[in-house]
Amino acid sequence: MLLLVLLVLSAGGYQLGRRRSLAVSADDGAAPGQRLHSLPSYYGFHTALWTGIPALILLALWIALQPIVITQLVLSDLPAEVRLLPEARLNLVISDIKNLASGNIVSAQVDPAMRAAADHYLQLQAISSAALTVVVLALALGGISIGWRLVSPEFRARNSVERMVNIFLVASSSVAILTTLGIVLSVLFEAIRFFQVVPVTEFLFGLHWSPQTAIRADQVGSSGAFGTVPLFAGTLLISAIAMVVAVPIGLMSALYLSEYANRRFRAVAKPLLEILAGIPTVVYGFFAALTVAPLVRDAGTSIGLNVASESALAAGMVMGIMIIPFVSSLSDDVINAVPQAMRDGSYALGSTRSETIKYVILPAALPGIVGGILLAVSRAIGETMIVVMAAGLGANLTANPLEAVTTVTVQIVTLLTGDQEFDSPKTLAAFALGLVLFLITLVLNVIALYVVRRYREQYE
């Protein structure tokens, strides 16, 4: 609501600034706009920026700080014995007050002090939002008047507008850095807290995984076990199955499409294959759980094998299908980058097409293909939905593809779905897993990107 008003005000500021610039320049009897430093629209933009930006910054700050300030104010009004409670209890009281204020059901009995606090809370909130509106509007109007006053023929409106735009561009390009930083810091921070409870060596080399920690110390299985070897074994098993499916099919179809197929076949088959890349992973998960897993199980039973209903084979196969277009389009790029002269040279020596492919194109394209496969592996390791829906939950250290295994991503999801407190080792374990996952994929990606880039430069 307030945002819309600000937008309208900024538009008004633009018009005012533009008109003002024309009027100022016409004062001296010259043609409108002639003596201005910048085009009239820049004066308009300048005024609009003055209107919008300070108000927006204030709005953001206000919204961010409001809950903290209000909570502190409400707390300072509470009776002393409540204020001196330990922090965890205090947080409970605060959330009770908030619930009471928004009319929800509260956990504890409602006493008059709480009721009063809730009323106080509501009152403060109303005051705050009213004050916010007034202050923001005042700031916007003040911005208009400053912008209006600054308009003069000598004022370099274009330069200052362009400076602002430049700041925006630099800021937006640093979002990518901030994101990486955010990922690393958030995951690292929680993981360090986890490693204070569970030693790193146990985490990396332990053979037993059962993250269920009991609430009371004397319960059975009160200490969870956080050995991740079975998880990584499961992840590797499923990824390996996926690669066994995806690499031959993807590579061969890329070779066929780029070396054998005529233009019409290529124009039809390539987009059809790429449909596989556009299908959401949750759909693959459903397909794996509902169609492929029973198929695999029935096929196994018919030849006398005992197949788990959540076998690694089914999940891995479907993941392989998902990765086919990934492998094939990456290899396609690399194969097309091999210079035609090399093919022609090979044909001139009398080799057949398949010999050219095997002895000339593949060796030449090998680094690129390996890079592509590494990217595909990193994707398979990080893939979540297929394994969440089609692979098992129990950690199981096995190399048998017919048994159910679990993966790193499955465990992250199961540990973190639902409401949990942030300080239990169970939730923190998910972040530690995330850290390892991030590092593994990061290393794979860096190697792959480096290999692919090096290779491209070679033939350019």
């Binding site: 994101t179 979540t384 990606n445 792959a448």
Partner: protein, 441 residues
């Protein structure tokens, strides 16, 4: 090489070369066989890939198509004033509290007057969806005039009846192994014979939110959640992505910092999506204290996830604008910013839009990071804004796929069909934009 350097015996040389040709001939057949074999492998790979596509799509549509129809039963409801509003006040409060299920029950008793035993009656009542009562209430609340009249209304049956009518429950199984009793089957057949039970288009599926009752569960809540999430994502990711691309392509000096940004973007594009979910949980929810399960947070997480896609596509679009355009603009006295804003950007816009649409399609299908930030909650209400708790289509699919009821299987497949429909539309739009505005310089 020695045989060629021996000019003294041309006959021997010819013989030897003849032998070599023979050898080559023999080898040639084998080489051609290998060639054909190799070619066949390639074709098999493509055919396999295409079979997977076909198999996936047919298996999903075969499962999902029946869900667009739903079994309804025709009830002649007498809106009994005694039951709804005995005092005749017509106050909304009284009307909304009345026991509408009783009206449905009395009609059912009326249909089968011979049923009187308690257990049998309960079985009979169970055949009609519990949503029937809500529908009657809605009708009466809208139009209190109905009270005292009789109206014929089609209401959904329970999911078990629906499954039986669609043939997903085998009638020939022993009674203890199926969820519908013999008695209920007999009633269903009677109703069918009287024309009071039929399959109709399932509008509830498109207008309802989620529900524990499969026959009442719909995708509208998830669709609206997806819309709000994508709105947040688009409004943040597009300006940021285009801004980054412009900066890197047009303004950035070639130094360590820009190198770092570039490496970063390429890496982010390959980071597993679930890690973005961890980031969202730790930063947006835990650190900034934003609420769980809201489309706003989902949109923020997806923004970070789709940014690399949009940046890479936008940079490609900017690169395809020829430098002569830039030089001409600069030569006419435009500032660098004017050159970009007035000349380069409009020419690159179609490519950027295409990239944005593809990024949005990717965001629409994403599930894993949203599980982390609590969008898996069971939410019945349709969200009314980006700050209302909600879920999105792919997460809804995940939730339904986890439900044990048989009827949810076909609902899941139907929801997948809707999701794929949206994705196909978005991709078609992207292809159209590319075809329509593509320029070769």
């Amino acid at each position: 090489m020695s045989n060629f350097s021996d000019p003294a015996s041309p006959a021997a040389a010819t013989a030897r070369s003849k032998r070599a040709t023979d050898l080559m001939r023999q080898g040639l057949a084998a080489r051609h066989r290998a060639e054909r074999r190799f070619r066949r492998y390639g074709l098999i790979a493509i055919v396999l890939g295409l079979t997977f596509v076909l198999f996936l799509l047919t298996s999903i549509s075969a499962t999902g198509l029946p869900a667009f129809q739903q079994t309804y039963v025709e009830l002649d409801i007498y809106f009994d004033p005694e039951e709804i509003d005995p005092e005749g006040t017509r106050l909304p409060k009284t009307l909304s509290r009345a026991n509408y299920a009783a009206l449905v029950r009395s009609t059912l008793r009326h249909y089968f007057p011979e049923v009187s035993e308690r257990r049998a009656l309960r079985e009979l009542y169970k055949m009609v969806s519990s949503g029937a009562g809500f529908e009657l209430r809605k009708k009466v609340m809208q139009n209190p005039e109905l009270i005292g009249t009789t109206e014929t209304i089609w209401v959904p049956t329970s999911d078990d009846v629906d499954m039986l009518v669609k043939g997903h429950i085998d009638r020939h199984l022993p009674e203890s192994e199926r969820r519908v009793s013999d008695q209920q089957i007999a009633w269903i057949d009677q109703l069918m014979a009287r024309g009071k039970l039929e399959k109709r288009f399932n509008t509830l599926f498109f207008v309802n939110g989620d529900s524990r009752q499969p026959e009442l569960a719909g995708i509208w809540g998830a669709v609206m959640g997806s819309v709000y999430t994508l709105l947040v994502t688009l409004s943040l990711a597009f300006p940021l992505g285009v801004g980054t691309a412009i900066y890197l392509e047009e303004f950035a000096p070639k130094n360590r910092w820009t190198d770092l940004v570039e490496v970063n973007i390429n890496n982010l594009a390959a980071v597993p999506s679930i890690v973005f979910g961890l980031l969202g949980l730790a930063v947006f929810i835990n650190f900034f204290g934003l609420p769980r399960s809201v489309p706003l947070v989902g949109g923020l997480v997806l923004t970070l996830m789709t940014l690399p896609t949009i940046i890479i596509a936008s940079r490609a679009a900017l690169k395809s604008v020829p430098p002569s355009i830039r030089e001409a603009a600069l030569g006419m006295g435009a500032s660098k910013m004017q050159m970009v804003a007035h000349h380069v950007l409009p020419l690159a816009m179609p490519g950027m839009l295409t990239g944005a649409i593809i990024g949005m399609a990717q965001a629409l299908g994403e599930t894993a990071p949203l599980l982390m930030i609590g969008m898996v909650a069971f939410i019945v209400d349709v969200p009314g804004g980006p700050l209302d708790p909600g879920t999105v289509l792919p997460v809804q699919i995940y939730l339904w796929a986890d439900s044990p009821e048989r009827a949810f299987v076909e609902k899941t497949a139907a929801a997948i069909m809707v999701l794929l429909g949206f994705l196909i539309m978005m991709n078609a739009l992207a292809v159209y934009l590319r075809k329509r505005f593509e320029r070769r310089w």
